[in-house]
């Protein structure tokens, strides 16, 4: 679709979405009235910037159904966010919303290389979490054979993967590594499996982690993005070029803003992702602050898709640590750890305040061989990580090696940062 035609479509959809939320959702009506905002004032996509943001807290304040734009009798499904940090939030779907959702996820899955000839194992949680159902609908729409195994029970996942000849795996990237490790323990060679594709989402990960997944499982690992407040999976997803996620721009309007000033960052620079839905019926949302950090990739993709790309989520804007006045993103630390040989992708960042000075320590799990046998080599690794971190992050970082498997593993979202500062 030509950019001009897309923008026309986006504008039309934005105008009718705003009119609908302003008339159907008391929360937005109040906000718009306060601003003395008139729908006629939205004359271009840039006018979106004059609208207020929607925060996670707004969803909590209107728990459970306060932000729905249709009566409950038109709702065919309710989902709830995982509530990793705080009270859960509720979102609803009409029949049309479910249809749109299926279509958008189908695009994402297709872009990742999966076809109707594949067998897809969905190891995202089903239930209130949107991940399982979202991928499920998209995969079914394409005609892929779906194994709705849901999350957890790692050994059984592997058993089924072997027996059912799974070709595509859906889970969080960190869980794929848990699967890989467990396979090693069970003495199963991943190369003997039929697995070819991995569709990962639900948490930030890095290019190095993709390499590791590729090495350990021998699969094409693509990233896809979504969040329940906006729809669930299906907002954007990578094609087989693995160079950023194509945004379903005809259904979502994305902005990348400076998390502090809330002004747009220059094209291509990192900022917080803010999303407005364009076609949601039950739960339209205007300028939702995702707190996810990303950047737009303006260059066209070799795959030929014309939808703009965003870089994989690089962390959370609330995870952003301000250490001695410097903005530090955990993802920067992760990137360095992978680059340095001999380190596993399991780490934790501990931030403390000693004598009024911030201190940041990275706990890194290492492989047994290094940890026990060679003190000298161990020290070398620590020094290498330290100096790389210092240049990458811009502040001094302590590094401590810890024994293999001593850091907490999670099957869902990994907790990477422990901030012990009392501010």
């Amino acid at each position: 679709m030509a950019r001009e035609d897309l923008e026309q479509l986006q504008l039309e959809r934005l105008q009718s979405t705003l009119y609908r939320v302003g008339t159907h959702v008391p929360f937005y009506k109040k906000k718009f009235d306060q601003l003395k905002f008139n729908y006629d004032d939205i004359r271009s996509l840039d006018d979106l910037r004059r609208l207020p943001f929607t925060e996670k807290q707004d969803l909590r304040d209107n728990y459970p159904y306060g932000l729905f734009a249709v009566p409950l009798r038109d709702i065919v499904r309710v989902h709830s966010s995982s509530g990793t940090s705080g009270q859960a939030t509720v979102v609803g779907y009409t029949r049309n919303d479910i249809k749109t959702w299926s279509n958008l996820v189908a695009r994402v899955i297709t872009a990742a290389g999966v076809t109707k000839n594949d067998v897809i194992q969905i190891a995202f949680g089903y239930g209130l979490f949107t991940g399982g159902f979202g991928l499920h609908y998209g995969a079914e729409l394409i005609g892929t054979s779906v194994i709705p195994i849901s999350a957890g029970n790692t050994k059984r996942q592997i058993q089924i993967m072997q027996d059912f000849k799974t070709t595509a795996l859906v889970c969080t990237p960190s869980y794929s590594l848990i699967l890989a490790d467990t396979m090693m323990e069970m003495g199963i060679n991943p190369n003997g499996l039929s697995l070819r594709f991995g569709l990962f989402g639900g948490e930030p990960w890095s290019e190095a982690m993709r390499q590791e997944i590729h090495q350990k499982l021998g699969i094409l690992a693509t990233d896809n993005y979504g969040l329940s407040e906006v729809m669930g999976p299906g907002v954007s997803g990578e094609c087989q070029h693995c160079n950023g996620l194509h945004i379903n721009e005809d259904h979502f309007l994305l902005e990348v803003l400076d998390p502090v000033t809330l002004e747009p960052v220059p094209e291509g620079e990192i900022g917080e992702l803010v999303i407005t839905t364009l076609t949601k019926e039950a739960f339209p949302i205007v300028r939702y602050r995702t707190r996810d950090l990303t950047r737009f990739i303006p260059e066209p993709c070799p795959c030929g898709r014309t939808m703009k790309r965003m870089q994989r989520v690089m962390g959370r804007s609330d995870d952003m640590l301000i250490i001695k006045g410097v903005n530090v993103f955990p993802v920067q630390i992760e990137k360095v750890l992978f680059e340095v040989e001999g380190t596993e992708p399991h780490y934790q960042i501990v931030v403390e305040r000693e004598n009024h000075a911030d201190k940041i320590t990275v706990l890194v799990e290492v492989m047994e061989s290094i940890f026990f046998d060679q003190m000298k080599k161990q020290r070398e690794v620590v020094e290498r990580i330290k100096s790389r971190l210092a240049s990458e992050v811009g502040v001094g970082v302590e590094v401590k090696l810890v024994e293999e498997k001593t850091l907490e593993r999670s099957e869902g979202k990994a907790k990477r940062v422990i901030d012990k500062r009392k501010l």
Binding site: D5, Q8, L9, L11, E12, R13, Q15, S16, Y19, R20, Y39, D40, I42, R43, V70, P71, R73, D74, T94, R95, N96, K99, T100, T279, E281
Partner: protein, 241 residues
């Protein structure tokens, strides 16, 4: 084909259309549905140039038409089938059709007009049977076909139809809508204005819902048909609680 952005239009001080944006792509049927007084006819009249936009723009084939004369807009390939047919009652069916070919004759000569006339008779065999009859003596459905045929005589790129189902028996409405589908199959582009939401969305590719001068909903026609608001307001599927 047709692109409208932020259009305001109306009569005198009365603003009927408020910030309307819509588009029509080649080869599709787009339905604009809405109740009486929603601004549907005002929209068509603005597109064809009978009313001038107060604000915003209308682009037809890439050209802004804000100040283009009506006859120029029509000549560039935008034809209107007006509400209530508006056939020339004291003239014969064939004369009515030939009038529709006026622009074609001026540009490409008599032979092309006759060719086009033949095409209309193929599309509407009943008009061939009635060719010498006075248009005013035709039935409502036949008059509607005549009005459509007359518009098609100019070989338009975009055909706009204002309430073609008005006052017609359900069976005739079905025939008319079948013909509209056939027009699309032949590569025509149609903007269909209708109160009969179910019939219009049933054949359209996409649709817009107009309410008191605003587009309140838009999307694929099938989605609009399944939309609960549309069902309640226009399809009588469910009583408002």
């Amino acid at each position: 084909m047709l692109k409208i952005r932020n259009l305001d239009a109306g009569y005198g001080k009365l603003r009927v259309l408020k910030n309307i944006s819509l588009h029509v792509k080649p080869g599709e049927i787009v339905a604009m549905i809405g109740a009486n007084g929603a601004g549907k006819t005002t929209l068509l009249h603005t597109i064809v140039g009978l009313i001038r936009p107060m604000r915003g723009e209308v682009r037809f084939l890439g050209q802004a038409t804000g100040s283009t004369a009506v006859e120029r807009i029509v000549a560039s390939g935008c034809a209107l089938v007006p509400e209530g047919r508006q056939v020339f009652a004291p003239m014969s069916v064939e004369e009515n059709l030939l009038l529709g070919g006026f622009i074609l004759q001026k540009e490409q000569g008599r032979a092309e007009v006759l060719k086009e006339l033949e095409r209309q008779y193929e599309l509407f065999p009943i008009l061939r049977e009635r060719r010498q009859q006075l248009a005013g003596t035709l039935s409502g459905g036949e008059q509607q076909m005549l009005a459509m045929g007359r518009a098609l005589m100019s070989r338009p790129k975009l055909v706009m139809m204002d309430e073609p189902s008005t006052g017609l028996a359900p069976l005739i409405v079905r025939d008319i809508f079948e013909i509209i589908c056939r027009l699309r199959a032949q590569g025509n582009t149609v903007l269909l204005i209708e109160q009969n939401a179910k019939a219009a969305l049933g054949i359209a590719d996409r649709g817009y819902v107009l309410e008191v001068g605003k587009v309140i909903l838009q999307g694929p026609a099938a989605d609009l048909l399944a939309n609960a608001d549309v069902q309640r307001a226009y399809l009588g599927r469910e009583k408002i609680a």
